[in-house]
């Protein structure tokens, strides 16, 4: 239809351009100092800017620190576990680390010294441990420098903070997984990406070369968009399981208002509308039991829940940049080297689009975030997606086959391509992964474009099947250990 053929064209919500800032040169907050920065038309002085950002940070975080979200009046902060901070070395997470340190580590020490009373209960640390986790992508993307030691150095600037470096290939490493969940949880699936049902089966013996598995996985993906979103998802889930491993009740991410708006639109562009809520804030529960798990211990069970919070969700990219500048923070990461061309990839296109739009219509990012915060998922949850570990909507496979007819009646049985040999070998254990995936992950694995992505690695050989991340198989086919069997039949066993 022509542009005005759409009845929803109405300009009552038309964006209008406004002058860069309102008339006064003085800070809107203290009204005394001369302004140093303009934030969405309002002028602030440096001092007031710092307290504004710190206020926004606490407002987005503190009501969610206690297990039961607080009412308006703040009670004492008593998180159920430690704090894990996902650190990419980019602007957002660098500022986040600075704010966390300033609010919960440095300040506390100052207070202790001032009041002298070390035993005073008010001065208990909010977080027993603050752990910074960095996931190194250099082995996944060509031409990137390994920055683990640089990041370690940057993190070491802050006392009272632990550092956990990971490599993205850990997502394919049975040893890494075994450390967290024990021997019983270790199994691996191989998947055939040639068909939309995604036939998959157990890998036997285990693939013990994580780097090779990672590269084969990324090389098998059909689009550049898929490569980028797979890397985001691998990083995210690595952080979640690290949170579980470190007994963290909270995982903080340095997503700014601007990057949140970008990731919301990026998610919508990839069919992840059902997970808008998780993109803003997420409650994640590991459903893999750690080896020392005691099913009678309620407290232990609660501890495995992780709340993912983005405390900079109200702070724009520009504000982050000013914070980093005035605090003289070093941005170690922030580097697009090796990532697929942003013009070929939904995430990159979305970023360029939003950043461009924000120049002309400065309220765009906050409008996007505000709008998305008013949405909730529609329809039933069929379970947790085995790949991204977010709630999956029921009926997506039926939806897809209704909306895009990919077979005609006569072609279904007669001409369906036979399963490739390696997957036929042990048909008993073959599953259709498609039914365990959310819409967006299924799209990541199956949706093609006219041009396949350029090869990431010179050496990568395209195989008909590829190993999946270590968290997939245990959720589909779990080996049931002796202890668990015993627990199930416990009451029927007669004590010897």
């Amino acid at each position: 239809m022509s542009s005005c053929g759409n009845p929803s064209t109405e300009s009552d919500a038309l964006m209008s351009r406004r002058p860069k800032f309102d008339k006064s040169k003085h800070c809107v907050k203290c009204k005394v100092a001369l302004g140093n920065i303009v934030i969405r038309h309002a002028v602030y002085c440096k001092e007031c800017f710092f307290s504004l950002v710190a206020f926004k940070f606490r407002r987005a975080l503190e009501p969610f620190v206690n297990a039961k979200p607080d009412g308006p009046r703040r009670t004492a902060l008593k998180p159920a576990g430690n704090l894990l901070l996902g650190f990419s070395g980019g602007l957002g997470s660098t500022v986040l680390l600075d704010l966390v340190h300033r609010s919960y580590i440095a300040n506390r020490k100052d207070e202790l010294r001032r009041d002298g009373g070390k035993d005073h209960p008010r001065h208990d640390k909010v977080w027993k441990r603050v752990i910074v986790c960095y996931v190194e992508l250099c082995d996944a993307l060509p031409g990137r420098k390994d920055k683990i030691s640089e990041v370690a150095e940057a993190v070491a600037q802050y006392e009272g903070v632990e550092f956990v470096p990971l490599r993205v290939q850990d997502a394919f490493d049975p040893l890494w997984w075994r450390c967290i969940y024990g021997e019983d949880a270790v199994s691996q699936l191989r998947i055939n990406l040639e068909n939309d049902e995604l036939t998959s089966m157990l890998t036997n013996p285990l693939s013990t070369n994580p780097l090779e598995s990672l590269r084969s996985y990324l090389s098998s993906l059909p689009t550049s968009t898929a490569v980028c979103s797979a890397l985001h998802a691998l990083t995210r889930v690595l952080l979640l399981h690290t949170a579980a491993e470190t007994d963290s009740s909270h995982l903080l991410l340095g997503t700014s208002l601007t990057s949140l708006a970008i990731s919301l639109i990026r998610g919508i562009g990839q069919g992840a509308g059902f997970n808008i809520e998780q993109e803003i804030q997420e409650e994640w529960l590991s459903d893999i039991r750690p080896p020392n798990f005691d099913s009678n211990d309620r407290a232990n069970e609660n501890q495995k829940g992780v709340r993912v919070i983005r405390p900079l969700r109200d702070v724009g990219l520009k504000e982050c940049a000013f914070w980093a500048w005035w605090e003289k923070l070093r941005i170690v990461g922030e580097d697009r080297t090796g990532w697929p061309d942003s013009r070929q990839e939904i995430g990159g296109l979305t970023k360029d689009f939003i950043m461009g739009l924000e120049k002309d219509y400065p309220s765009t990012v906050s409008t996007i975030v505000r709008t998305c915060a008013k949405l909730s998922p529609r329809g039933e949850v069929s379970g947790k997606c085995v790949l991204c570990e977010r709630p999956a909507q029921e009926g997506v496979q039926e939806w897809k086959s209704r909306i895009s007819v990919r077979t005609t009646a006569q072609s279904v049985d007669a001409t369906a391509p036979p399963l490739p040999a390696p997957l036929q070998a042990d048909n008993a254990s073959a599953t259709r992964l498609a039914s365990h995936l959310c819409y967006a992950c299924h799209t990541t694995l199956t949706s093609r474009s006219a041009r396949p992505p350029p090869p990431l690695y010179l050496s990568a050989t395209k195989t008909s099947s590829t190993t999946l991340p270590v968290w997939v198989a245990p959720r589909i086919m779990r080996k049931v250990g002796e202890d668990e069997m015993r627990a199930t039949v416990q009451e029927f066993l007669i004590e010897e």
Binding site: L14, G273, I368, P377, Q393
Partner: protein, 357 residues
Amino acid sequence: MPPKTCALCSSARAILKRPKTGQQICKDCFFYVFETEVHNTITEAQLFKPGDRVAIGASGGKDSTVLAHVMKTLNDRYNYGLELLLLSIDEGITGYRDDSLETVKRNQEQYDMSLKILSYDELYGWTMDAIVAQIGKKNNCTFCGVFRRQALDRGAAILNVDHIVTGHNADDIAETVLMNIMRGDIARLGRCTSICTQGEDTIKRSKPFKYAYEKEIVMYAYFKKLDYFSTECIYSPDAYRGHARAFLKDLEAARPSAIIDIIHSGEAFEIKEVVKATQKIQQTCKRCGYMSSNELCKACTLLEGLERGMANAGVTDRARKKMDAEGPAPENLRIIPFFQQPAAPHRTDISIADTST
């Protein structure tokens, strides 16, 4: 390279690559999947009942020309039992609508459907040419959109139909999802992906091409040799929508499923109950009886602004207040005829309705 065989029937030679799935298929299989997907859309949403009188909003452009053909084909093939009619709106844009109305008239003969043409001039006393002459090219899409929507409903009432189908395609809907998020239009966001909308007292309106790609609609017209006119409006569209459209095209190029993926996203969320409670409730316009979220409907507000020489009154709140401050509307103001619901016999049971407006 040897000729590729069709990925669907494996017998005929593939002559096209489906924009939606990338599959290489033959012409007959393309017709089959295209029509079947529209049929799936219609049956899944239970849009019609046998005996329904259905008006096709026909502009002579590609979407509605193909829609008329597909509706006729499916109605015959699957015995929907529908009585199909054509309804055209003449906006009064010189050199823009004249040719495309010829297409509609030809469809009327080809498909043996009755046709009603309703003009803005007849209904509002203003042609789009006259409106643009007064207000310039800025914001004219606001007028056109509001006036067309109401004109379709009124035309449908005159024809006494149960249902209007329009040619909105998947690209339009995906674009609207993005627009509504970026503009924060939460009420529209909540309903823009529903296949069928029906307010308290308006006629059912649905979009059978909701999942049909614009490129495939053109492809269908091309292979079926259906001719149509470009209905790209000669007056400039709004810039913000233009950005959203260009962005969507980029996403589609990166990954063709993006259009359908965005629509899926839009269907996978809804407005939180607490937010819904704060939305304006729907009422009827005190002047013309059409549904409205204010005392006066959008069309009446726009028309009053035009008549009183304050055209922006319907566009911005500030201009609206300014007009109100200049006193009430004069007695002799030209107004839209009062809206009367058609007394349709089938309108009592509603198979699918989204009344969350």
